[in-house]
């Protein structure tokens, strides 16, 4: 077209990014790739094709890893790990810095290859993914540098198996590899089979940057390879980002193995627009929320909740905005929406949307490219929360919408989901926005924004969106373990036995303590408790699944506890200590009678001290204000997990109960505790302490019974948010397996001893398990 003609049409014209460097790199590698193991590429083997989803063209041939490949990768990682850790923080920091630098020098090559392989617009890979990738390595170079001084009691976990998705291939690699390496771990990483190329380029860059061999190993292939990594006995920790469905399988596969696990899974993020929002900005925010990366984003704002009075205007404006989205060749610099990653994914999106008969569907009318996998940005209004598309993740450029009337209703709708990854809240009223944001059950909440990320701010989900955090100080927790724990096996403590005889003095029949009341067990059974010499000490009720259900229901009802102030919770914990102290001798005698010996005094003293510890922490376990690169702040709040079910330590009946109850309630959780199985009696005296300490009913319930019978019920209960076990019964695997359905957090002892009298019996590990980090982004500007 002539200048004169364009002067009239004012079209943008083509602006293709030059892909020749990326193709040259592929050709240099022979267009065929093996794995990257022990610092070198293996010869290409049997495999599969990697295609450009924008036109279906083959980019390269990749190799499907065999068990032997995975074994070799794990062995290389194992061999390299000790030396890598011993290199020290500064030594590792220099390597991470070098990786960041080489990524920066090759930023455009990485971005173009990412777009070729994944189909995302070059703008996104160039302006969003790659800058965040570099930032992640720079940030964690700093974490490596600071590890010895700031985390003196933490050690590397060892060999990390990492399985990443196809939506942000290089960025998810960075999120996994950078913190692992910083903390002295080595990795075996499997990229998604649709998008392995930038991981292989990364391997090449690591080699060029002089990273010691074996520190980063990359194997390619489909889900079967992921399974080999997950189940490999030589892997100490699994980190996975991907679908909730696969996350569940990984949880099940690793249950009971003692492998550490973090999961970053799906979402159905609410995008809440109040009537006083800057509507045009909220609409532009939606473009970033649901049309970024064609909506193939786990934290996409895919569920629009708009206040009823402005809904029609908002939808009209939104439709107008959608019309100016440009869809097409992702290598074009003027494209907003690129290609769906694979024809299979395109089919899945199409089927889900076509299966929706309700609501009103609006799709962008622009003509789609004739070839390649493209789906038009789509809005479906007028759906009810009960509709499948309001509940399930579509993972495509499809926004569903419904309305709300009041702030409370907005929160209810936002939280009416099995997921809990991310959310947006739009309002110009600071009171409203800051009130609503923390009430949304999600790991990340963006006020007046969407899809903002930074290495300094933790990212991760609650509920079925997974567990664990990536980024910030919190993200390092998953890649470290306590430094000074020599694992010792915990031997099951059998209850004392004896002859059922008569009880001395007045008969004592303690009950279960549920919802602030003493309750007879549903099953009507009790169990005799004996002294080591076989003398009958009393009868304790045998709780069954219904008692457990009632305890959880009472805990759910005591929700208000989470909204009390830290000061108030501290007061109650101090009061418990005071009341326990008043009856110290009696408790000590009871313990001595059950366990024999004279350890009771010490245990009571330690228990009083521990209550003081958590009273102290109740108003001090603060969040953080992160230094993120924007005007405003990202707040890392410590929110209570919710309802925590705990199998208390068997060996120290009072100290154990107090040690798990303390952090749980200090942080605003409600707890359903199952008391020490062999030495239960002391709990009955303790609930009297609770009763006299002004603890609201339902915040703590105490059950007695068989741990192995109650463990599967607790683990499967959908209204329990976390289960901890320090039992001497072998229930760690049962709990981890049982948690699969709602992906509740689990914290189990894996049959290892914890010294409840020492520092490992209290402190940050407990407080962190009792809280979820909730990152609230608060950009601002007058």
């Amino acid at each position: 077209m002539s200048v004169k003609e364009i002067f009239e049409t004012m079209d943008y014209g083509p602006a293709p990014e030059d892909a020749s460097e990326a193709f040259a790199w592929l050709v240099d590698q022979g267009d065929r790739f093996g794995h990257f193991i022990d610092g070198a590429f293996t010869p290409p083997g049997e495999g599969f094709l990697s295609r450009n989803p924008a036109n279906g063209e083959t980019l390269a041939t990749l190799t499907q890893a065999t068990q032997a490949d995975v074994d070799a990768a794990v062995a290389a990682a194992r061999k390299a790990q000790g030396k890598w850790a011993r290199l020290g923080g500064h030594g590792r920091a220099k390597h991470l810095y070098a990786i960041a630098r080489i990524l920066q020098r090759n930023a455009r090559l990485c971005a173009v290859l990412e777009t070729l392989d994944n189909g995302k617009p070059i703008r996104e890979s160039r302006d969003i993914d790659l800058p965040l990738v570099q930032r992640h390595f720079y940030f964690h170079a700093g974490m490596a540098q600071l590890m010895e001084s700031q985390l003196p009691d933490r050690a590397p976990v060892g060999v990390c198996g990492q399985v990443i998705p196809w939506n942000f291939p290089l960025l998810m690699l960075a999120w996994k590899v950078a913190p692992a390496l910083a903390m002295g771990n080595t990795v075996v990483l499997k990229p998604a089979e649709y998008t392995s190329l930038t991981a292989l380029l990364f391997a090449d860059l690591c080699r060029q940057a002089g990273l010691p061999k074996g520190v980063v190993n990359i194997v390619t292939g489909d889900g079967k390879v992921g399974e080999m990594i997950v189940t490999h006995p030589g892997v100490d920790k699994i980190a996975f980002t991907g679908s909730t469905e696969v996350g569940r399988k990984i949880r099940a596969a690793t249950a009971g193995t003692g492998k550490a696990l973090t999961l970053e899974l799906g979402g159905k993020g609410p995008y809440v627009v109040f009537d006083d929002a800057d509507l045009d900005s909220a609409i532009e925010g939606l473009v970033d929320a649901i049309w970024l990366n064609q909506g193939q984003v786990c934290c996409a704002g895919s569920r629009l909740l708009v206040q009823e009075g402005i809904a029609e205007r908002f939808h009209d404006k939104l439709k107008a905005r959608m019309q100016s989205l440009r869809i097409g060749n992702p290598l074009d610099k003027c494209i907003d929406v690129g290609a769906i990653v694979d024809p299979a994914q395109l089919r899945a999106i199409t089927e889900m949307v076509e299966g929706c008969a309700e609501g009103e569907r609006f799709s962008v009318g622009t003509e789609l490219p004739a070839e390649g996998s493209f789906y038009p940005p789509t809005l479906i209004t007028g759906l009810a929360p009960s509709h499948r598309l309001m509940q399930e993740e579509i993972f495509g450029p499809v926004l569903v919408s419904t309305t709300f009337r009041t702030p409370d209703e907005a929160v209810q709708l936002a939280n009416n989901t099995r997921y809990g990854l991310a959310a947006s809240v739009w309002s110009e009223n600071v009171n409203l926005a800051l009130d609503i944001a923390p009430q949304i059950e999600a790991g990340v909440i963006w006020i007046n924004s969407a899809n903002m990320f930074d290495a300094a701010a933790a990212f991760g989900g609650v509920r079925e969106s997974g567990f664990g955090r990536e980024g910030g100080w919190e993200g390092l927790r998953a890649y470290t373990r306590p430094a000074d724990r020599a694992p010792r096996p915990l031997v099951r403590i059998e209850p004392n036995t004896g002859e059922s005889g008569t009880f001395e003095g007045i008969d004592r029949t303690p009950k279960l303590y549920i919802g602030g009341k003493q309750t007879r067990p549903d099953g009507g059974y009790s169990r005799a408790v004996f002294s080591p010499r076989g003398k009958l000490l009393g009868q304790v009720p045998e709780a069954n699944r219904k008692d457990l259900r009632n305890a959880v229901e009472a805990a759910r009802g005591a929700r208000a506890w989470g909204a009390t102030s830290g000061h108030q919770r501290a007061q109650i914990l101090y009061y418990m200590a005071e009341n326990l102290s008043a009856r110290a001798d009696e408790f000590a005698r009871e313990i001595n009678k059950m366990k024999g010996g004279r350890g009771g005094d010490r245990e009571v003293e330690a228990s009083i001290c521990r209550l003081f510890t958590y009273a102290a922490w109740a108003d001090k376990f603060d969040g953080q204000a992160h230094g993120v690169p924007m005007r405003g702040m990202a707040l890392g709040l410590r929110a209570p997990v919710g309802v925590i079910g705990v199998f208390c330590p068997d060996e120290v009946p009072l100290l154990g109960l107090v040690s798990v109850m303390g952090p749980a309630i200090a942080m605003g959780n409600r707890a359903a505790l199952v008391a020490s199985e062999p030495y239960p009696l002391v709990y009955a005296d303790f609930y009297q302490v609770l009763d006299t300490s002004d603890l609201p009913g339902g915040v703590v319930s105490i059950l007695t019974g068989k741990h192995d019978a109650l463990a599967p019920v607790m683990a499967a209960h959908m209204d329990v948010d976390a289960v901890w076990s320090f039992s001497s019964s072998d229930i760690s695997g049962v709990i981890e397996r049982g948690s699969v359905r709602n992906l509740k957090r689990t914290w189990v002892n894996n049959g290892l001893v914890r010294d409840w009298f020492s520092a490992e019996g209290e402190g940050s590990a407990f407080l962190e398990a009792a809280t979820e980090v909730k990152t609230i982004w608060v950009p601002c500007g007058a």
């Binding site: 200048v3 004169k4 002067f7 004012m10 900005s281 500007g781």
Partner: protein, 329 residues
Amino acid sequence: MQTDLATPVAGLPQARVARNAGMALDLDWVMRSQANRSAIERRVATLAGRRTVKKEYQAAWLCRAISCIDLTTLAGDDTAGRVHRLAAKARQPVRADLLDSLGMEGLRVGAVCVYHEMIAPARAALEGSGIPVAAVSTGFPAGLTPFHLRLAEIEESVKAGAEEIDIVISRRHVLTWDWAALYDEIRAFRAACGPAHLKAILATGELGTLRNVARASLVAMMAGADFIKTSTGKEAVNATLPVSLVMIRAIRDYCAATGHRVGYKPAGGISKAKDALSYLVLIKEELGKPWLTPALFRFGASSLLSDIERQLEHHVTGAYSAGYRHPMG
């Protein structure tokens, strides 16, 4: 050499777009209007990465930018001679040989913008070109002269032949949220303009917040402004992309509600060809192509043209250009 014009590229806005009739002051609407600064800044910051024009497209867009320039001189030392020179540049903004190569013969700027005393020499110099003369008015730039004199100034300028009047608003009405006073003031200015077009300068650099900019924009349009304009060029902060986004979103809302298309003029601080492209992209994305004409969009700029000229020569020759190769205005 003077190139010939078959069809004038520049032209009077009224020839193409129905004038904004204004409407009663709708305070509910004004007060509902919001502007979230950080989101607005993100939008304009990412837009540069979302859209680009290359090669002949870039050349065409730069020509379009030239056609939308209000070539301006607003200096105390303006003379008839200076204005004559500027008018000549307005008629022939780019060297004829370059326009020939581009196939853009006849390209002209949108208007020439001067103080009242320079209207007559400007009119004389632009005789027959079809390029309108715009005059700044109403006690420009502060707008704090007696109200009746401000009205009289408009009338005098219209009588002297100005076809566009760039008025300044009383910033205090915005800062104290006296929207009725602002409305009445602009309404009176509009009446004084008669057939001449009214461009309302909001002096956004002095309004404190983007929300004030949004609300002042709406009130100005309700009062009948044909254009809303950011700045006098004399404030510490002049046109910016975030301010522009707020103002053009107000224009979009106003058009949706009334059907009237109001024009937009960013002024001050736009001196690079690249900046001009950013503005055109913003307009195209947020308001749409109908606004990409001098009838509805102008740059208030004095040095922008010379940068565009150099870019156009680069496009034609493939070699970077030098300032002295292009005739002064």
